[in-house]
Symmetry: C3
């Protein structure tokens, strides 16, 4: 099937997933983000690239943190932002998702930033807009179910490139609840695309999905084994609801086996960096001494995340739709 | 009593209701909206007409859809927008409505867009502002109780004019729950003002208010009879709470008698247009084949609605208060 | 301990409390506010002083009224505003307050307007930002627990100066629930700093804190005694939850002893002004005849409040951090 995120010239018209995204487009996003990092340091942090454009933050699932990063990115691009908490809105009046989308598109929206608890919802929206030739609206996936969180994956790649320069000689470990993580999935696709030779996944069996080996990933259930010599450690957030369920004995037990302590960090390469998508559970998946230590680049991820979102938004807004 | 929405020069300083609004003012709004329709198609969709003005969206009743259309319209006029969900705010602290209004006016507000569950609330606010000589603040009614929804009425007129050009040879049918509809009331006033020779209302007796005949409206309880030869069909939304109450047997029964199907639509003039204020209940008041068919102009209504709201806001903001 | 709201040049880099604020800084804020009062009267009510700056309204406690005044002030300074209702956000995911702060600071925030139910929270945030050398972010306290509400105190001073010109010959009475009022505390500090020779506090013993006399305040439990000859009356809001608790018999009883009626107002200086921070409980702490009478300056307080907040925000944004 045709990938609905690319137009017929192979340009990015929506950002739905990193899976299948050509390396050249990933690099173009990272290069563009690089130019925006400096914008955020200026006295006036705005560029007029999306002046007069209307960006709708369509959050069918609440996420203040992610919504804020997109709102900031939109405003620094000089766009007008409309925040819609859709759970509380028309869908409760029985209107279908696609009727809501058509309505907002008819207001001459330029972009939908979509967060949805159901995997595939942003894909469905983008496909509908393409099928109905509403090519003026671009979709950016801000997290859908367990499927993807592509801007998080891209900001992780930006961060790794910033600190490590070259992807082709790295060993990267992703640690924790991979099963429920859209971040892990996006990261694995991106790391593979960019030529990382060794991607490892570390976690308890109950929190690892099947099929990892087929994706070219090395699987470890022993954290000490898995961390040996790695250059990049991506810690995942342990969702509160997992902490005392069927899948895990308790948060304390988890920390004992998979918490990143200074001792464990010492097993990695001496210049390894530590990443985390936030919000952190200190004392559950990560020790405060690591979170606040010199190898953590967690706050840099946040800073780069704004620039990466500005890059994605300005790139897709500049590309015409499928038929153009 | 003096109509509080006109200043002493007969200009529109507030928009409260279409009832009693002179035809010249209605036409001025529609003409102004026409110039804004093209603005929304431009690369930069903003005009500086309300730059530096402060628009307060005062929603005492939640309506994400209507709030969004006014927020978009305000931003395209370059106004600053403040969204206030008042139900959750000061009124819960025991402050009176008019104290809240005085407070916001003292912040040098320029416009209140008011949505309220009580009929007459925007009228009360406008009268209070006039009486206390707070002439710098303009009120736009965004729906009050069962009373009026004038911008919806005006965008319906814009849509009809766009497709049919001349009002004076039209037959227009309004179908459904007229009893509980502020849209129907606004539409009937507007259609009459603009010289439509035949306005019909179609619905079950339990959902029709008294006094329709006195307003010059023809009443039909048989939909097939009522649709014969009409040029414009305005479908009304059936509120969920009516579907299984004392007034109606069920949603299925309603659809059987009053749902707009392709077969019924064929009774109207071959070039009849189908309108709906949204959100639609597909399969209740309207069949999907009609909603998505070539005669439906429902999404055009949404697009025109932004332009009509821009027109109303810029016109009232430009007119001075009662004493000026 | 070093006052974290001043940088090493003694300039205001955060506004946390009026307590200990030098008179010169208070006067500088009031003088700057004076220039902004006229801005609000202009056709275009914006100045570009904070163009491209990102202001985060961090409301850990809901207060639509206060949030609105800061949002308006920010927009009139041309800043970008992000509203965060934090109660509903990351803290519910177990993230610590300071992790949330670091995250938002990493988005290149320029200012946090902080409202928190816990006394000292804005102080803690400012100290953390100073300690971690995140000097690009400025903190403005928008009310913390029972501790302080400095912009309310400053707008009260602006109002008094506007009507009375000279502070050094005034008698000012603060009436009501002083015990639970952050407004009262801020006002007492400000009045003392500005050289008001006599500050009185009037209220029932159960609603007066200890230590007032040591602050140089005269205490009255008899309202008629306390109002004699005063130039300024600052009424406090009686919180609903006090009205029928252990501290007070009832709202009616309270009004009988401490409600400001025309008869009681006649005991004050004939040109005395009446102030109230809002929202008012008419018939509880204040009679409508007084609230709407010629001596009330309650709505002027609101108007001046916008200008004072613009002054505070532009001043702190213009001063560099501790190390600079």
């Amino acid at each position: 099937m045709h990938n609905p995120q690319l137009n017929k010239h192979g340009e990015l018209q929506h950002l739905l997933t990193i899976d299948g995204l050509p390396k050249s487009i990933v690099n173009h996003i990272l290069d563009t983000a690089s130019s925006f990092v400096s914008v955020s340091d200026r006295e006036v942090k705005k560029v007029p690239l999306m002046r007069g454009k209307s960006v709708f933050n369509l959050f069918f699932e609440n996420s203040t943190r992610t919504r804020t990063t997109f709102e900031i990115a939109s405003k620094r691009l000089s766009a007008d932002v409309i925040n819609l908490n859709i759970a509380a809105s028309s869908t409760s009046k029985g209107e279908s998702l696609l009727d809501t989308i058509d309505n907002l598109a008819a207001m001459h929206a330029d972009m939908f930033v979509v967060r949805h608890a159901t995997s595939g919802a942003p894909f469905l929206i983008a496909k509908h807009l393409n099928d109905t030739k509403q090519h003026h609206v671009h979709v950016v996936n801000a997290g859908d179910g367990r499927h993807a969180h592509p801007t998080q994956g891209l900001l992780d790649m930006y961060t790794i490139r910033h600190y490590k320069k070259d992807f082709t000689n790295l060993t990267v470990a992703i640690v924790g609840d991979v099963l429920h993580s859209r971040v892990a999935r996006s990261d694995i696709h991106a790391l593979t695309t960019l030529g990382v030779p060794e991607v490892r996944v570390i976690g308890p069996r109950t929190l690892l999905p099947g099929g990892l080996e087929q994706m070219g990933v090395r699987v470890f259930t022993d954290m000490n084994e898995g961390l040996k010599g790695v250059d990049v450690i991506i810690m995942l957030r342990l969702q509160n609801e997992r902490m005392s369920g069927a899948l895990l004995p308790s948060a304390q037990e988890y920390f004992k086996s998979y918490g990143l302590t200074p001792e464990r960090l010492a097993l990695a390469h001496p210049e390894a960096i530590v990443m985390h998508p936030g919000p952190m559970n200190r004392g559950v998946e990560i020790d405060s001494a690591v979170a606040d230590g010199p190898q953590a680049v967690i706050l840099s991820q946040v800073t780069f995340g704004i620039a990466v979102r500005m890059a994605v938004m300005s790139i897709v807004a500049g590309n015409s739709g499928s038929d153009a």
